[in-house]
């Protein structure tokens, strides 16, 4: 077997194996990329909330335009259709569909549900007070609706239950449907059966809502034609974000492929060479994904997204290879330098491996394995595949031009250039220092691909609906439902005092729908026996305008409640309270969790909850298993932790690179000459971004790593030539320039994407690698030009 056959067989076998792994791999597109690999219980809860919590399944729909009554008709038709669809666990438009069942439920269980039920409530004085109140209520219009209830419920438990909690915070009504306060939008809410992180299912469900809308609109005829549907909610955002990233990535990669291949074709003049030139990148990408799949068990979508980073370096390998092998100096001169450059990048990316942020750790492994594979293919496979003579364009004239340019710069003298570099470094450092406080963006929202206008619209709809901003949630965990309901009742008492102090506007609690068995038992025990009740009632009614015999149904109802069963979750089925209850109770294996979302105080003009006072109050109450989860702060803290960790790891990577170069080059001076241009490029770009008002995110940091990874090749080439006592050949200068041009094109296009993640990478890498090349050309040599020639 020839060497050629062996190499190719080995390579093809590797590709085949990688392809098998890649095709079998599990791909995750959910938020688990952001879940720390060793989460605290709080972080686990946080991510579960974001991923699967009731808030993540919420679809908010608003109908705008046309007449309000037409909108209400369309909404009602949509609701009917969507309620029949099992993809939605709940669809509400304010239509009192289950009003009858709700009323029956409340009426039947009122003495177990009302927190007014105590022994005192049924003493003569307590009854008198409550009945007087009920009589007064009859004078008001809502009282007229309750008139028929008085004989059964003279103490007004129904009104009390409705006023305390269940009926609270309901949206405005117009024409029998929910409406915004200004009446311009008619609203409905759906909860999907699928989790919010299942973007495919969300996309399908959104399409179903749209179809239901179109059908209802068509059925309503021409008056409804002016009505438009707008949707919001986490699922809608996720679907839109995925679509826009997909679209932008597709568009940009097509444009950049066309540009880069066009550029390479001009140089290579052969499609065969062009295709061969893409082999290192393709092999690297495949091996990278396969390694991540093997190493982590599953590949995050975000890792694939970062994968473009690989193009930055591995395309260069082929460029160096073709241009230099045309001049016959590849294996001898170039490979050791490419290898060192590759190892430098590997060191940089290796430091990402221990990151708690799985997205970053996967990126590290992906880049390391991909780069090694690409370099190996360039070194061993390409030489076997290229024809002995291939018609590459002679780039010598371009190289000579570049050399003249470089010489012009370098003729200013080493000292002058070093001084200029120092001055630039100093200026950039000053800028960074001045912006230090605001340099890093610690808000995860900075990475959100959701446009601000959409986020604001979402907030508006939530305000219309009185839906709790899922920002602050009091979380009660326990081993069973009863435990968490009791915890929720205790936490509710603390929260109620905050409501009374107007710190918060209100809160939802599962215990409002279903009190704990302990509470229900206590209330049931508080109900008097028939004889005592009749006696107390007789005395209470003295001086009141109500006859005891009018209230016979009341006596019978209390008697029934005394011997009746406690309310169970099954009793909630079929009422509109079931959805509310289900949304607030989570159950996973042996863990039960009750959620108490907290509402913003509406009159304080405050848009946000005083999280500190909330946390302090809940903390002071010393409630077991109870915590305040500030979703936004917690998410930002998580992200901020990642950012800090990434910065630390990058610095460690820098140190590792220094060690590697010291070992390889065996000269501190050379290490300084190699690293200075890269460092200068990184801080110059950071300073420019800071000056441009851009706050740096974790993606900018990844971009900086790429500047070092890609730029180290440039600097090492110049250094190698310098160490060998040569001036760089025109071919080498041309190949570096070509490699950089393709990198700048690919990443420059990313910066036009308007998607924060891609923007950040593009804006950092494109100018950074260009500066790295210029600085390397200017700084990585000892003497003035022509010294070696």
């Amino acid at each position: 077997m020839t060497r050629r056959t062996l190499v190719l067989a080995f390579w093809l076998a590797g590709i085949a194996a990688a392809a098998v792994v890649v095709s079998q791999a599990r791909y995750l597109t959910d938020l688990s990329a952001f879940l720390p690999s060793h989460p605290t219980p709080m972080q686990r809860l946080l991510v579960d909330q974001l991923r699967e919590g009731p808030a993540s399944r919420l679809l908010l729909m608003a109908l705008e335009g046309g007449a309000a009554d037409e909108r209400a008709r369309v909404v009602s038709a949509m609701t009917g259709r969507l309620r029949a669809d099992s993809a939605f666990s709940r669809v509400d438009d304010g239509e009192p569909l289950s009003a009858g069942r709700d009323r029956d439920f409340l009426l039947r269980h009122r003495y177990l549900l009302s927190d007014a039920v105590t022994a005192e409530h049924f003493t003569p004085d307590g009854l008198k007070l409550a009945i007087e109140d009920t009589i007064q209520s009859l004078a008001e219009p809502a009282g007229l609706l309750l008139k028929s209830l008085v004989p059964r419920d003279p103490t007004g438990e129904m009104l009390h239950i409705l006023e305390r909690g269940l009926g609270e915070g309901a949206p405005r009504q117009s024409h029998g449907a929910w409406s915004s306060a200004d009446g311009t939008r008619t609203l409905m809410v759906a909860q999907t059966s699928a989790t919010g992180s299942d973007t495919d299912a969300q996309e399908r469900d959104i399409a179903r809502v749209r179809a239901a809308f179109r059908e209802a609109q068509a059925a309503a005829g021409p008056p409804a034609s002016a009505i438009g549907l707008r949707m919001s909610g986490p699922g809608v955002f996720a679907v839109a974000a995925r679509a826009s990233i997909k679209q932008a990535a597709m568009r940009l990669s097509i444009i950049s492929s066309v540009l880069v291949t066009g550029l390479l074709l001009v140089v290579y003049r052969s499609t065969r060479v062009l295709v061969l030139g893409l082999l290192p990148v393709a092999t690297g990408g495949l091996v990278g994904v396969a390694s991540v799949a093997l190493g982590f068990g599953a590949v995050h979508g975000i890792t694939l997204g970062f994968g473009v980073t690989l193009i930055g370096e591995s395309v260069d390998y082929a460029v160096y290879f073709f241009i230099r092998s045309a001049s016959g100096s590849w294996g001898r001169d170039l490979w050791p330098t490419v290898r060192l450059g590759m190892l430098t990048s590997v060191c940089g990316f290796a430091t990402l491996l221990p990151s708690q942020f799985p997205g970053l750790a996967q990126l590290g492994l992906y880049s390391i394995s991909g780069l090694i594979a690409a370099a190996l293919v360039t070194r061993f496979v390409l030489p076997e595949l290229v024809p002995s003579r291939f018609p590459i364009r002679d780039v010598t004239p371009v190289g000579l031009g570049l050399r003249r340019l470089r010489d012009a710069i370098r003729r200013r003298g080493t000292k002058a250039l070093a001084a200029a570099a120092l001055a630039l470094a100093l200026a950039a450092t000053l800028v960074l220092h001045a912006h230090w406080g605001t340099l890093w963006n610690r808000d995860l929202a900075a990475l959100s691909p959701v446009p601000l206008a959409d986020q604001q619209y979402d907030a508006k709809l939530r305000a219309d609906l009185g839906a709790a901003d899922p920002r602050s949630v009091v979380v009660v965990s326990g081993p069973d439902l009863e435990a968490v309901l009791r915890g929720a009742e205790r936490a509710g008492a603390t929260l109620q005092s905050l409501v009374d102090d107007k710190v918060i506007g209100g809160f939802d609690s599962p215990a409002a729908f279903l009190p704990s068995a302990a509470t229900q038992l206590a209330r049931r025990r508080a109900l008097p026996d028939e004889a005592s009740l009749r006696d107390a009632l007789h005395r209470a009614l003295a001086g009141l305008d109500l006859d005891a015999d009018q209230l016979e149904p009341f006596v019978l109802d209390v008697r029934a409640a005394r011997s009746g069963a406690l309310v169970t979750p099954q009793d909630l089925r079929g009422t509109s309270f079931a959805a509310g209850f289900d949304a607030l109770i989570l159950h996973a294996s042996d863990r039960w969790t009750a959620l108490l979302p907290v509402h913003v105080a509406d009159d304080a003009g405050a848009r946000e909850i005083d999280a500190e006072r909330l946390a302090a109050a809940v903390g002071a109450a010393r409630l077991p298993g109870t915590q305040v989860l500030d979703l936004k702060a917690e998410t930002n803290a998580l992200y901020s932790g990642y950012l800090h960790e990434a910065i630390r790891l990058s610095l460690a990577g820098g140190a590792l690179i220094v060690v590697l170069l010291l070992v390889a080059l065996r000269s501190p001076a050379r290490v300084v000459r190699v690293l200075a241009p890269l460092l200068l490029a990184v801080i110059a770009v950071s300073a420019a971004l800071a000056l441009g008002g851009i706050r740096l995110t974790i993606l900018h940091l990844v971009g900086m790593l790429l500047i070092v990874a890609v730029g180290s090749n440039y600097a090492l080439f110049f250094d190698a030539e310098d160490a060998a006592g040569r001036d760089p050949s025109p071919q080498m200068l041309a190949s570096l320039c070509l490699a950089n041009l393709s990198t700048v094109i690919a990443f420059g296009l990313l910066s036009l994407s308007h998607i924060p993640v891609l923007d950040a990478l593009g804006l950092t890498v494109a100018p950074g690698t260009f500066l790295a090349l210029v600085f390397s050309a200017a700084l990585t040599a000892r003497g003035p030009p022509g010294k070696h020639a």
Binding site: E140, P141, G176
Partner: protein, 190 residues
């Protein structure tokens, strides 16, 4: 005179008599509609079968054209009721409740009848009630009977008495025999 002519004359006379009441109703409506703002103290008594004695409350009624009606109850306990457009806001203490009349149509005759009368909006009254007018522009009585079967379950008849563009008495009868009687004493026009 030929019988046909007599018949025509009789028809004309008859319609003239009907026309007089129509004219007076239009006159009352016009004079009510001309008023942009009005205030009156009220005393309301509710006669409920459930209760041995009528429930009494009192306060002030404030109307602002075209569709804002405010009922401020002071006795026996403070409560404000505001009808604006289709939205009814009930405020007691620091708690308020917002009701959409489209969702609770049974509330409409109670307060909507009063507002439409104050607005002099005959078309709106006729969309909900059969109207019977008697008296003159100076002293009039308007009887309203709900057209809608659903409304008839809430209200069987409303009678409004007035002098000129002031309302003096509003009586609402419910099908179960309960009734409320509101007596109004207008504030002097500013």
């Amino acid at each position: 005179m030929k019988p046909a002519v007599i018949a025509v004359c009789a028809l004309l006379l008859g319609s003239a008599a009907a026309g007089a009441a129509e004219d007076a109703l239009d006159g009352v409506m016009r004079s009510l509609a001309a008023r942009r703002h009005g205030e009156a103290d009220f005393i309301e008594q509710q006669f409920l079968a459930l209760l041995k004695r009528p429930l009494e409350s009192s306060g002030t009624l404030i109307y602002d054209a075209p569709d804002r009606l405010q009922k401020i109850t002071r006795e026996p306990r403070a409560e404000t009721l505001l009808l604006e457009g289709d939205v009814l806001t009930v405020r007691r203490g620091h708690r308020s409740r917002v009701l959409d009349l489209k969702t609770y149509p049974q509330l409409l005759p109670f307060i909507g009848s009063l507002r439409a009368t104050l607005a002099g909006d005959r078309a709106q009254l006729e969309s909900m009630f059969r109207l019977e007018f008697s008296g003159s522009v100076a002293h009039w009585t308007l009887r309203l009977t709900p057209l809608d079967a659903e409304l008839q379950q809430a209200v069987s008849r409303i009678q409004i008495d007035g002098t000129g563009n002031d309302l003096s008495r509003v009586e609402i009868r419910q099908p179960d025999g309960d009734r409320s009687l509101m007596t109004l004493r207008p504030h002097a026009a500013p």
